[in-house]
């Protein structure tokens, strides 16, 4: 089957990739990625405000993968990763782009897309209120997520969440989340 999870990245021509990972997302891997990228941000002399935003968004994106990825299809190339995901961090002219990808079961696509659309049509004030509402009213789910990750990312970056679902088969789609952290926000 010709399905390449990395093909999405070839459509993104601008910028300089500073980190790429594909495989199992576990706690140790998250530590490693955070360490590596933080080191590069410091080495690149990025302003602490931008550094912190990138770090925060990276934590939430990786932990979103950790808590929410659905299992890989039976005929996918990587059958050993329990929680398969991909991540790329790209340095662009005015900030950093963080792209993640993971499998989502067909049944979960609509719900996830609805959530993103709701965030994307909200103003900054509405997102702040939504964040506070979820913080105060929703318990941590059985998967360990708080349901706040995407809202927090949108709030901290001030940008719309770009995304794409690429159909793998009838049961699974591959979900890309593309976040831009601007140095001017």
């Amino acid at each position: 089957m010709s399905f390449n999870v990395e093909s999405y990245f070839s459509d993104i021509s601008s910028g300089n990739p500073i980190h790429f990972y594909k495989g199992n997302i576990d706690s140790d891997l998250i530590n490693k990625v955070l360490d590596t990228v933080e080191g590069k941000l410091i080495k690149g002399n990025e302003h602490s405000k931008l550094r912190k935003k990138v770090y925060n968004v990276l934590v939430e994106s990786l932990q979103n993968l950790y808590h929410h990825v659905d299992k890989v299809p039976d005929d996918f190339e990587d059958q050993t990763s329990d929680k398969f995901g991909i991540l790329e961090v790209i340095k662009e002219e005015n900030g950093y782009r963080i792209i993640t990808g993971n499998f989502v079961q067909a049944d979960n696509v609509e719900k996830l897309e609805e959530k993103i659309k709701r965030i994307n049509r909200s103003s900054h004030e509405e997102i702040t209120e939504l964040y506070k509402f979820i913080l105060n009213h929703q318990r941590i789910s059985s998967k360990g997520g708080g349901g706040l990750g995407l809202v927090d990312i949108a709030r901290k970056t001030g940008n719309r969440l770009e995304y794409q679902f690429k159909k793998y088969n009838e049961e699974s789609s591959f979900f890309y989340l593309n976040i831009f952290v601007s140095e001017n926000y």
Partner: protein, 126 residues
Amino acid sequence: MEPIIIEGTPKTPTIKFDSSKGEFEIKGRSIPENSVEFYKPLVDWLDLYKESPLNKTVVNIRLEYFNTSSSKCILDVFKKLEAIHKAKNDVEVNWYYEEDDEDMLEAGEDYESIIRVPFKMIEIVE
């Protein structure tokens, strides 16, 4: 009550809860995948402290980063403090943030708007 002292790690904060002084501190990074596991003993400890608190309790929050999963646990900590305050004891939260870190200031303001305990926002100037 025995104090709780926990050394910080790259993913979990330093904790100093001292009931004899009524001083509590959470400092550093709080970004564990499983934040409930980390915070549950602290919330349980505060449940006990709440039974016989000092007249004045001071809470210092000096976080550099925290993830959204920790944010709910930190709210649980504040809810215990709110109960102590409601029972006519002094409780004061000092929320520290670095001078250019508006996100951390806003996070403190979120809690201030949810929890009925006096908050002081303190800017750390380097």
